[in-house]
Amino acid sequence: MENNAFYVALSLLLNFDASLFQIVALSLQVSLLAVLIAALLGFPLGAAVALWRFPGRGVMIVALNALMGLPPVVAGLIVYLLLSRAGPLGEWGFLFTPGAMVIAQVVLVLPILAALSRQKVEELLGEYREQFVSLGMSRSRMMPTLLWDARFALLTVLLAGFGRASAEVGAVMMVGGNIDGVTRVMTTAIVLETGKGNLPLALGLGIVLLTLVMLINAGAYLLGELTRRRVG
């Protein structure tokens, strides 16, 4: 019975195993912070691309769409090069800290949030444009109105970003280093424990990761549905 992976996984969870919860907490901190920063940058960026016509706009849209599929290891490599001792931001001493992991995940998530919010905002703008012009609104004044009115769609976009951040392993592994107690998150721990043959712990972490993602998605779905029904 003790060798049953599910049993071990469940007992780890039910006993509130300290090292397990440290890993879970760090994972959440890193991914949530990364998604928050990416949203603060990506939503206005997406809205700006939807609102303004400028040379290179088409290239930018294609680039943002393409970067949605940026391989995490490539994002990790870029951030690694930037933050390494010899790199341009080497002085920050950020490499192998949670901060570096946040930066790497921002790089991964930002294109998703910008590209998807660009689509949503552009759809809404098609509907609102004449009324906005009639009200004498400038493009920069339209931006906050559009972002707020697209809030339900953007919540889904945010979830897509969070899903990406919490599930990836390549980027955080490269720039975080999977240091026990410092930069070990759920995905890197799963890789490590699987490699060591500690399948129960790996599975336990996997179950926690899945459950968390499900809970966050369910919460956001419910919130979205309730308010959508209320606001129409």
Binding site: E127, Y128, E130, Q131, V133, S134, L135, G136, M137, R141, T145, W148, D149, R151, F152, R230, V231, G232
Partner: protein, 247 residues
């Protein structure tokens, strides 16, 4: 038959709102002339009803006048300095995904009305347009008639000197139509220049001070309402009125 109701004239209007002049205005798209060239001046008390069959260019004319579109030829000019404060009410009201009162507050905010003054103006307008009961209702779950009243209230809080209405009642039931027409009269009484399109002759008879008649992208006639309904000059307007009466 209600069509000979006394048309609405505002003798109470002291100073006339800014005059609108189309100077050889034309609009073409992909080498096809959709409107004009047309030249006319709206300077009377109004309300001006823009009439004509579907595809005559009524909506286009309104959008050019309001500045939503730029003419490909000629220019739109206003009396006085610059262009006046304007608002437009569309056939399908475009409302924000917010509460009823938040829609009004937003319009006031983008027009730089001081924050402190916004709520009072908004609530006054809700009361005037019979929307007090739906203050916090999401605007997009209001009924069609309520939505259009909210669009009118939004225009009202901006105190426009000119109000354009593009077929504002074509999707509404009689009670809602009545409310919209009452609102149009209130705007008119406040001294707002009204320019409204409709294809409903009865409605035009009830509201019009003067009629601008379009067909095939050309202005065929611009005459006082009484003259237009009793003795239309252009062949197109004669046919339009006759066609409507036999229905």
């Amino acid at each position: 038959m209600t069509s000979f109701n006394a048309p609405f004239h505002a003798s109470s209007v002291l100073s006339l709102p800014p005059a609108l002049r189309f100077e050889g205005v034309a609009f073409s798209h992909q080498d096809k002339v959709l409107l004009g060239p047309c030249a006319f001046t709206l300077e009377g008390a109004g309300p001006t009803l823009v009439m004509g069959p579907n595809g005559a260019g009524k909506s286009l004319l309104l959008r050019l006048a309001h500045g939503l579109l730029s003419p490909t030829q000629g220019r739109v000019a206003w009396s006085g300095e610059g262009s006046p404060r304007q608002a437009m009410v569309f056939q399908q009201p475009v409302l924000l995904r917010r509460s009823t009162v938040a829609n009004l507050i937003h319009a006031l905010a983008v027009n730089n009305v001081p924050r402190k003054a916004r709520a009072k103006l908004a609530f006054d307008a809700l009361e005037r347009f019979g929307l007090t009961a739906c203050t916090d209702t999401p605007a997009r779950v209001l009924s069609g008639g309520e939505q259009q009243r909210l669009a009118l209230a939004r225009a009202w809080v901006l105190s426009p000197q000119v109000l354009f209405l593009d077929e504002p009642t074509s999707a509404l039931d009689p009670a809602a139509i009545k409310a919209v027409e009452a609102a149009v009269r209130e705007f008119h009484q406040r001294g707002t220049r009204i320019v409204m399109t409709t294809h409903d002759l009865h409605q035009a008879r009830r509201l019009a001070g003067d009629v601008l008649f379009l067909s095939g992208g050309k202005v065929r006639e611009h005459t006082p309402a009484e003259a237009f309904f009793n003795a239309p000059v252009s062949r197109e307007a004669q046919a339009f009125i006759a066609g409507e009466l036999v229905e």
